[in-house]
């Protein structure tokens, strides 16, 4: 049968789905959605937010034209990069290709976006190419906010941040390997808010695991600018249990309340200085700069006075540009922390909103979740988890909590958390890239 010969009855018979028939007869053809024929979505950034969003847009809107623009040829995950720093995994094991997304029919462009025209929903790429879209999704991650600590823009080589996974991760690993036994490692977390609130403390844990086995006279000092930190009780109990916690022990945490925030770093003397003059000397220093939304969304005029993007927390549409969506670390998402799991969860709500809008339907009620596993050692894990709902326009936590801090009494629990952390990694990366 030729397409033109097929009448409406044949069409309905072929459908064989009464649900679909009643939709057609009750509502007629969705003319608003018809106007969007060939609807095109451009997603910028192929990380936790962007890769997930592209994948779910195609899954829920198979006939959408989805383009993903990513500046790197492959994606190296920050999650599990602390294991690479500790020598427990290779960088290859946390590196992912975009072949799976290409196979799903997503047009993946390896290129850097140099400009965003939010009003026109248009992006320009290095080399001159321009792409315009019916909806633009931006999930470009974070940028560093230099100038808040003296010399903070000059130390990427001497005091690697390793807060973008890749060459920085490998550099920090090499410095730890080269350090003599008895050396001091300083970890300097940024002020809140920053990507992955438990990240610096997981890093301290896994470096301690490496040092305990290989350089047991060495120490780690966390020179914090914050008065408290993520999963603090659970981390401290586990540190005391596995490594020793306090002055002269393997891990020492210096709170932001002790001597104030870090104000100066000096690569020539390898020192870190706090506001009230306390100085810390390190053999290896991991200085993590202050953070804000990616420079890309900043230059597009999408950020607020604090340097982050305000969005409708149900759809992730920017508060300042129609049909431009901002996800992940760059956006303000109520009670959700800046994590890969949060970005993945947000991306699914955003994809649902876009698909529904383009089909002229209403978006299913949003629903969100986050979990951050942290490894204290490769076989000892803790976590924080939450489920969220949209309430009065803001994402609010409705359940969740932190692993109970009773190390020693129930090691099996922590062993299982470490085991499931690996499952989490496998699950989320296959969900994004598979």
């Amino acid at each position: 049968m030729n397409i033109h010969d097929m009448n409406r009855r044949d069409f309905i018979k072929l459908l064989g789905a009464t649900g679909a028939v009643s939709t057609l007869t009750a509502c007629g053809l969705p003319t608003a959605a018809m106007a969007k024929a060939g609807g095109r979505v451009v997603v910028v950034g192929g990380g936790f937010g962007g890769a997930t969003c592209a994948s779910y847009l195609k899954r829920w809107g198979p006939d959408l034209n989805v383009t993903l623009v990513e500046k790197e040829a492959k994606y190296v995950t920050c999650p599990f990069s602390n294991k690479v720093i500790a020598g427990d995994m290779s960088i290859a094991e946390i590196t992912h290709s975009y072949d799976g997304l290409k196979a799903r029919g997503i047009n993946v462009i390896n290129g850097e976006v140099t400009g965003v025209d939010a009003a026109a929903k248009k992006v320009s790429l290095k080399g001159g190419q321009a792409l315009s879209a019916d909806a633009l999704v931006l999930s470009p991650g974070i940028s560093f906010e230099y100038g808040r600590v003296e010399n903070d823009d000059k130390v990427a080589e001497s005091m690697p941040h390793a807060w973008h996974a890749g060459p920085q991760t490998v550099l920090l690993r090499k410095q730890l390997e080269a350090m003599a036994d008895g050396g001091v490692v300083l970890i300097v977390p940024p002020r809140k808010p920053f990507r992955c609130p438990p990240g610096p403390y997981e890093r301290a844990s896994l470096i301690a695991h490496y040092l305990k086995a290989n350089k047991p006279k060495s120490r780690i000092v966390i020179v914090d600018s914050n008065p408290s930190h993520s999963k603090q009780k659970a981390f401290h109990a586990a540190w005391a249990h596995l490594y020793g916690l306090g002055e002269g022990k393997m891990i020492q945490w210096v709170s932001g309340d002790q001597g104030g925030p870090v104000v100066k770093i000096d690569p020539s003397t390898m020192t870190v200085e706090k506001e009230f003059g306390d100085k810390f000397k390190g053999d290896v220093i991991n200085f993590i700069p202050h953070q804000k939304a990616s420079a890309l969304v900043m230059s597009a005029g999408l950020t607020n006075k604090d340097g982050w993007c305000d969005v409708d927390q149900g759809t992730f549409e920017s508060k300042v540009a129609k049909s431009v969506y901002v996800l992940g670390d760059s956006c303000v998402a109520g009670a959700m922390p800046k994590s890969g799991h949060s970005a993945n969860s947000q991306a699914k709500n955003c994809a649902a909103a876009i698909v529904a809008k383009m089909a002229g339907q209403s978006q299913p009620t949003p629903s969100y979740a986050n979990t951050c596993y942290s490894l204290i050692s490769p076989d000892f894990g803790i976590s924080v988890a939450a489920v969220y709902q949209l309430k009065e326009g803001a994402i609010k936590k409705v359940s969740g909590g932190v692993t109970p801090p009773h190390p020693g009494e129930n090691d099996r629990f922590y062993k299982n958390e470490a085991k499931y952390a690996k499952g989490w990694y496998k699950g989320i990366t296959s969900d994004m890239f598979g």
């Binding site: 397409i3 097929m6 459908l15 789905a17 649900g19 679909a20 939709t23 509502c27 053809l29 969705p30 608003a32 959605a33 018809m34 106007a35 969007k36 024929a37 060939g38 609807g39 779910y56 829920w60 809107g61 198979p62 006939d63 993945n344 969860s345 699914k348 709500n349 698909v355 529904a356 383009m358 089909a359 002229g360 339907q361 299913p364 009620t365 949003p366 629903s367 969100y368 979740a369 979990t371 976590s383 988890a385 939450a386 489920v387 709902q389 409705v398 359940s399 969740g400 629990f413 958390e417 085991k419 690996k422 499952g423 989490w424 496998k426 699950g427 989320i428 296959s430 969900d431 598979g434």
Partner: protein
Amino acid sequence: MSVKRVVMMTGLSAGLVGALALSGTAHAGELNRGALLSAQCETCHGTDGTGAAPMPSINGMDVADMVDVMKAFASKEEKSTMMYRHAQGYSDEELKAVAEYLKGK
């Protein structure tokens, strides 16, 4: 023949495909409340809940069994390291929507 294929044959738009999918017909591009809720589980349990070892698979389960085990996780009657914190976040109606969606995967 899938809905999508028929629509393609008739030369209709992506918008209609979306509308059909949203009406709840079995379809690769199915989007409804159950799908969006289940997508929150899929982060850990793999796309369509097919598992990411050692994360168990949760697809194809009997609807009543799924709702029962989720409620048992929430009350801690069923021991878990992680699930109690997630299960406590969903209403009975939401759990049922999740169970119905994942049953078909």
